[in-house]
């Protein structure tokens, strides 16, 4: 079955590596680019798992691709409607709340979790995690997907609050490269989206430009 989930020991495992990190003035949201069918076939080497739900709000998905697309489509619609009613850009928390409502109210049928990150005028850069059952949590940085288990130690050691843009890009690229190096269902290129007050910038780091570590 295509998609980015597989079942492992009865627990749902998420075939990807995604992360989001707050830095001084914005957020970076990032992911790998591999879509796999089963354990050994790579169905796409370059898919983009970062979905734009509004001008300065992005989402990355972990879980069933179908469920995630359905939820983000609905969230995009509700968010644009809300933004027109309020006559101002939506809050990142509003976007995350919409997804949380959808995930919580349909928790029996859905199998998708999200990382929502963006910038708004009220609180600046923010990251929210909506987990599988519909919990909403705000964090300074977060990692997800099957490849994330291998980088918990690295991100715990290396994250500092209020990093500069360059440090944050280095941190995200290193973390994703390390996860892709150990997880066989994460790979390809690194997609990063940098969201600040001024602009949204999409950075792609191709395979040959990824940082190399001691055994490579």
């Amino acid at each position: 079955m295509d998609g980015i989930t597989y079942q492992c020991l009865g627990l749902l495992q998420l075939k990807t590596t995604i992360l989001a990190v707050k830095f001084n003035g914005g957020v970076i949201i990032g992911s790998d680019s591999r879509a796999s069918m089963g354990e050994s076939y790579v169905s796409s080497k370059t898919i983009n798992k970062l979905i734009q739900v509004h001008d300065r709000i992005f989402c990355c998905i972990a879980g069933s691709l179908a469920d995630a697309q359905a939820v983000t489509k609905m969230a995009k619609f509700q968010l644009s409607f809300h933004s027109i009613q309020m006559e101002s850009p939506p809050l990142v928390k509003a976007a995350a709340s919409i997804m949380r409502e959808l995930c919580y109210n349909n928790k029996e049928e859905l199998q998708a979790g999200f990382i929502t990150a963006g910038w708004d005028r009220k609180k600046g850069p923010q990251i929210y995690v909506v987990s599988l059952g519909g919990m909403l949590l705000s964090q300074p940085f977060t990692i997800g997907g099957s490849g994330s288990t291998y980088i918990y130690g690295y991100v715990d050691a290396k994250f500092k609050p209020d990093m500069s843009l360059e440090e944050a890009i280095q941190f995200s690229t290193n973390a994703l490269a390390l996860a892709m190096g150990r997880d066989n269902v994460s790979g390809g290129v690194v997609h990063l989206v940098v969201i600040t007050e001024a602009e949204v910038k999409h950075v792609v780091v191709p395979g040959n430009k990824l940082p190399k570590f001691h055994d490579e």
Binding site: P140, F141, T149, Y150, I151, Y152, G153, Y154, V155, D156, A157, K158, F159, K160, P161, N174, A175, L178, A179, G181, R182, F213, H214, D215
Partner: protein, 233 residues
């Protein structure tokens, strides 16, 4: 009059059965769900382990010593079923001691690792044991061999094992540099084990370290409040 035995609805927890008459640890095997690590440096090896042994959700021993001497300058770190690894370590200690007497000299680390591998591979269906063998010998200096579940054996400059090891692959890959000094290796091992212990529920307690070199074995313990601190932790 019937006694109300059920106190909690089943939705309270899917992981633990709070209505059971006996706690879960009376029915669970003792396991060293753990984090173990060993690093080679020029002149010896540094080995480290956490100190938690669990029986289900109960911590049977919070100050376990998972660094087991096999010979004077050869130790092993044990992970997996506590019973299996203790039995294997005892058997290998006997075999290696006998071999060393026959040879009339100190045994090689590779010999010890091979004995572990032979046993783990032969009985791979019955055993659940992941072992890291490390030590110093005159022929090749400091060496680390890993014998994971299944019975493969390979030499690595740095090796991690146990349930907590998944969380520190990224940290170890990015922080290891060849040709580190003994002090750098100690710091690296302590930091890696601390990070794993913070994230893995089956690892915790204190960090036990051992340095094996030509001079012998130095043991250290780093207590909970002395562990390195990280900004998010």
């Amino acid at each position: 009059m019937a006694t109300m035995l059920q106190k909690f609805p089943s939705s309270v927890s899917t992981l633990n059965d709070y209505n059971a008459l006996y706690p879960d640890w009376t029915q669970r095997e003792v396991s060293t769900g753990t984090t173990i690590m060993a690093v080679e440096f020029d002149g010896g090896v540094v080995m480290g382990a956490d100190s938690r042994t669990t029986t289900g959700a109960y911590i049977a021993n919070r100050v376990t010593d998972k660094l087991t001497p096999i010979h004077e300058r050869i130790f092993c770190c044990r992970s997996g079923s506590a019973a299996d690894t203790q039995a294997i370590a005892d058997a290998v200690t006997y075999q290696l001691g006998f071999h060393s007497i026959e040879l009339d000299e100190a045994p090689l680390v590779q010999t010890a690792a091979s004995l572990f591998r032979d046993m783990c591979y032969r009985y791979r269906e019955e055993l659940m044991a992941g072992i890291i063998v490390a030590g110093w010998d005159r022929r090749r200096g400091g060496q680390v061999y890993t014998v994971p579940v299944g019975g493969m054996m390979t030499r690595q400059p740095v090796s991690v094992g146990g349930s907590g090891s998944s969380y520190i692959y990224g940290f170890v890959d990015s922080n290891y540099k060849p040709a580190m000094s003994k002090e750098e290796c100690l710091k690296f091992t302590a930091e890696a084990l601390t990070l794993a212990m913070e994230r893995d529920g089956s690892s915790g307690g204190v960090v036990r370290l051992a340095v094996i070199s030509e001079q012998g074995v130095e043991r250290q313990v780093i207590l909970g409040n002395q562990l390195p601190k990280f900004s998010t932790v």
